[in-house]
Symmetry: C2
Subunit: 689 residues, 2 copies
């Protein structure tokens, strides 16, 4: 988007209108004017070059501070112009700004930018010339309330200085909050502002002054974000996720063709399948219809695998037939260039005409394991379970369907989104919110647009349905962010992170982390708080637990005195008396049971329990697993199993699985999963009750 | 360790002796003296309170800068004393320092501390009053050479400012380097210094001035670290890791007793086993000897499982017999308190007397899978393989032996170190360095002491044997570090990290990360550099690869033009032309093969290749695996398989395993493992060739 920089006086005027104090100033075009301005303002004064061609004045020697007399002003005025002329010979000079000297104080930056995914965002942090070096910045999506502003300040290191660091001076935090709110209002009310930064804003013990600002204005107005206060649950037709009958257009009897794989994969489906192919005949024992119109019923779904150029006609036929849901697997659309994009537009308009909602094009298809539907050309179908997986990559779906990455977690709905020409991430989220079998949803997202619809819907329903996102494509974003400048200090990925945080979306760092958090939350629900207890007979696991808890924002509570006394009654002499509760290497399932009994009685003191064990001779894995199941049933808290072994403990792990208790084969992963849930839980408001 | 603070004049004197410039100063005990000092020094001057009770002068208002006239000095002198008297009424006041006003400039800190594990270390970073807030600090073990000092500066953010940030002034970096070297020399030559910090050292464009310093002196001298230039390969008896005959003292015929499990576990051993128990009889078909002296040969090992109090006598008997190696499994020593510690000392002295080297006490024992020896009371023995595991936790060994955590990696030597009363981590590392079957070594370490012996030995031999450490107990350290002060800004864990970095030790973050790097390096050796190529048919995996590469310091090379042209010849139209090389979703093993062929021809351009695939219908996993094997054989580079699936690709993964090509089931883990190796490789000097 093109834009131009406001001049310093224009910036000052705009800020003034929003009650943001700027220094007294006067634009002068000659040394004579400058002298009389300085007289009016009072010495000492500051001189600043004003030029539409210079955005970072300090960097080119365009600012002279501390001028304390007319003589000094005269000589500095002249050398300023000479210096600029030398360094940027072609710069157009609008004049020299004479402005009030502002008392020293901590320098902060307030910035704003129009993000292509999430719209207007505001940033706050340590300011001055070193802003990019220090990178002490926090970001919020607009609009933001006073609590949000306050949290934003708290997140930065400079907040400690503002509050009076180590007995130092305190600065006017409430004025700062006011100014951030004013700047946000300015950004929202002036729809032509693309980005701005006030830097430095100098804080004093009473008030603050915006000494410098850059505001970039576009020629067009970009409507301010008006987030729907109650995002609607966008919906596809009722039967989109529970079709009773499926037409396969482009079905084929030649192994190797997608239309064959699809038919093959759909065979186990108990509903009706109607292959369509102009050649007729039969495929895998099913009668083939030459035209959609020949099908004796109106199928709930049309799965389309014909070549791209035939898709418009197929969609028209499906529409005429009265079909309302389609899955377009065919590739050769937007992803293939200009012609493909035109074709895609045509398909969209036909779909609108007939009221068809569709997934794809250019996708792997959809799997609904509970319904026995594998409408993809992947090989395997996952086992049914509580986690949905919506993915912008088909390859990742094939891995997940094959129990790669997802581990032991079953899947409820698997959708390859393809080009999202019609149904998009928000629509799918809306569908999942209505599906009571889905207890957690994993999204693999490369690009999200528009972003707010998705994050706001996820945020509104976060308590009901935990949403986990693996956002790919960070690196390129990081690069882009690095190329742009201060106003966009918050690179796009930082904005994603903030949008996710606000919505309580879990920001996974890998596919397996996404599925392990999903499995955890699907079976245990959100943790009620950060207070955790660890019980283990492995000394090493106790030490590692303490580390991993610390790294993941999990609080290992100090054991209440009475609880310790009860443990003392049966624990071997010399036990640590601390949490992690190390019940010593010779412990069997019985000692675990006694310790867990005490945890049950003291369950008001904790929110999460980790039970870790390795295959030592004294432990019978089946007995231990049964104790963990009993424990889990007698608490309303999050119980995390960590039976760590390759083989010996499998019988115990199976018991945990059957009883929907998550088990982690690596302690690190268990704490990481809980940590990710806690991090997002704060944004989801799960601790507010 | 107790210590006292040097007064400011004492500090200045000491710094002066090491050519570190300090401001002109004079200690005055009255306002009259202060006035005449100021006259001598020249206005403006600075006043600073001098008191043994005040270490952070600025925090209590004990510093007044910019005093420009005698009148001002008089009034400030008085109010300084009043202020201090009000804030710290009991402070003993030695006087007021009048010192030269020092021109402004970037403020840095140079600190030093005596670490309990690694001895003297030096820190450098952003200084001033906000040093703990900003935490821009790097650390080096002493001694450090000029290259090390320069790297240390480069690691900090303030280095950018020193070099002239965004057209700003440049500061005297070579003076800074000189001063860091001087400070290091001061620390090494004055063996009574426990810690110091020079803060701020103010940098100018010509030279630098140490404006303030705190130096803490101990009453005793602590010898400076004199690192052995060639640390010897400490060694246990020749047969410690290849015993032919084993005596089990405390062998038992009662299932449930450790002495029984040990006998049971040792049965498959093909050498001779001599159970010893005063009761005689036979155990599991082996004749029992009533005394060690009755054994007809001199066994290579004595494995001891008698109660702690009997261990000294057993050790004496073993010594008399001529046994030179022992594994003391019995617990009840140092870990059990004062009495146990005394017992342990007795055992050590008996061992010294007879020249016995021993592992333990209080350990799980030792496993030597290649020899068929399981001298532990764990249940399972790992399969033999190239990775050694030395652990301070027995529980973790049981998990690893059971193929938990280690995954598919085989183990060469597994040692539970116990209390390390005799043989310690350094000894075991020494043994592994002599064992040609061990290609990588994993250490689980809770505490390391003395630290340098281990890290220096690892560092010296890093190219031959990659050492991977999981350091547990970080959190408690972090707490301790937080409680102490500036000189110890580098918390103990930061010092571990630095010691590991210098030695090329891989700093794993979890057990499974430790074993996955170990498996990778055991089969592939160190990577030769950071340049990587990714080949995959999964678009999502290509995008994720780019992210993960960025996060792990792995350089995805731009494809050379000629290479791209060769790929163009067979790649589907519209392929990205970039690295990651996305060979498109319909690729089979053949297209992988053609792409890999080109990688073979252009192998001078890259150091690491990732080949990623998921179970799509077009890929035959066995064919693909064979292509990866062929590829690996035709390059001398690191080849990383990422066949991502739960089930379908297992036949292919087995082929990779058989051919010692690492395979990762999660892309994130693959890049993380390579990233950890690269990070350590720099310190190990693997890129220097």
């Amino acid at each position: 988007m093109n834009g131009h920089l406001l001049s310093e006086p224009e910036c000052y005027d705009l800020l003034n209108r929003y009650d943001i104090r700027v220094p007294d100033y006067c634009l002068s075009e000659s040394v004579g004017e400058a002298l009389s301005s300085a007289e009016k303002i009072g010495y000492p004064v500051v001189l600043k070059i004003v030029s539409p061609d210079i955005s970072h004045k300090s960097d080119v020697g365009g600012v002279v501070t501390g001028i304390s007399s007319p003589e000094e002003l005269e000589s500095e005025y002249e050398s300023l112009l000479i210096r600029i002329n030398k360094r940027i010979p072609d710069a157009e000079i609008s004049g020299v700004l004479v402005s009030e000297h502002v008392e020293e104080g901590p320098e902060v930056i307030i910035g704003g930018k129009l993000d292509s995914v999430f719209g207007r965002v505001i940033t706050f942090g340590t300011g001055g010339t070193l802003v990019e070096l220090i990178k002490d910045i926090s970001v919020r999506l607009l609009p933001v309330d006073r609590t949000g502003i306050s949290e934003m300040i708290d997140k930065t290191k400079i907040s400690a200085i503002i509050g009076g660091y180590r007995g130092g001076e305190e600065y006017d935090r409430s004025a700062l909050e006011e100014i951030i709110a004013d700047a946000a209002r300015m950004f929202l009310e002036n729809e032509d502002i693309i980005s701005f930064d006030i830097n430095p804003l100098i804080l004093h013990s009473n008030g603050a002054v915006a000494v410098d600002a850059r505001i970039i204005i576009s020629d067009e107005k970009i409507p301010a974000d008006t987030p729907a206060s109650t995002p609607p649950l966008l919906s596809a037709p009722e039967k989109f996720t529970s079709p009773q009958s499926i037409a396969v257009i482009g079905a084929s009897s030649s192994p190797g063709k997608l239309g064959y794989y699809l038919m093959h994969n759909l065979l186990p489906f108990s509903g009706d399948i109607y292959p369509v192919n102009p050649r007729g005949g039969s495929i895998l024992g099913k009668e083939v219809f030459k035209n959609i119109s020949d099908i004796p019923v109106i199928p709930d779904w049309a799965v389309i695998v014909v070549p791209a150029k035939s898709v418009p006609q197929v969609m028209r036929d499906a529409g005429e037939k009265g079909i309302k849901s389609a899955v377009i697997i065919s590739a050769g659309f937007k992803e293939a260039g200009y012609e493909g994009a035109k074709l895609e537009e045509e398909v969209v308009s036909i779909a609108k005409e007939y009221g068809i909602r569709f997934a794809g094009p250019n996708c792997l298809g959809i799997m609904l394991p509970y319904e026995g539907i594998n409408a993809t050309f992947g090989q395997k179908m996952p086992k049914p379970g509580p986690v949905a997986f919506i993915s912008q990559s088909g390859a990742i779906i094939t891995a997940a369907a094959d129990r790669g990455i997802v581990g032991n977690t079953g899947l409820s709905t698997v959708i390859s989104v393809g080009n999202q020409a019609d149904l998009n991430f928000s629509d799918y989220l809306g569908m999942l919110l209505k599906d009571c079998r889905t207890k957690a949803a994993v999204f693999y997202i490369e690009g999200l647009k528009p972003g707010r619809e998705f994050t706001e819907m996820a945020g509104k329903h976060a308590k009901e349905l935990p949403v986990i996102v693996l956002k790919a494509g960070k690196t390129e974003m990081a690069k882009k962010a690095a190329m742009s400048h201060t106003g966009s200090l918050a690179g796009s990925y930082e904005i994603y992170k903030e949008a996710f945080r606000e919505a309580g979306i879990i920001n996974a760092f890998s596919l397996s982390s996404a599925f392990s958090v999903a499995g955890l939350l699907a079976s245990e629900g959100w943790p009620k708080g950060r207070r955790a207890v660890v019980v283990t007979s492995g000394g090493g696991f106790a030490v590692l637990s303490a580390d991993f808890a610390g790294e993941n924002g999990i609080t290992l509570i100090p054991l209440p005195e009475r609880m310790k006394e009860e443990l003392d009654k049966f624990m071997p002499e010399g036990w640590s008396g601390q949490n992690p509760v190390d019940i010593i290497g010779d412990a069997g399932a019985e000692r675990y049971a006694r310790a867990l009994d005490i945890l049950i009685r003291y369950q008001d003191f904790w929110d999460i329990a980790f039970v870790a064990a390795s295959p030592v001779t004294s432990i019978d894995p089946i007995k231990l697993a049964k104790e963990i199941v009993r424990f889990s049933k007698q608490t309303g808290k999050m119980v995390v199993g960590c039976m760590i072994s390759g083989e010996s403990m499998q019988p115990g792990i199976s018991i945990l699985n059957e009883n929907h208790i998550p088990n982690f084969a690596e302690l690190y992963d268990a704490f990481k999963a809980v940590g990710l849930a806690l991090e997002a839980g704060e944004g989801a408001g799960i601790f507010d009750e």
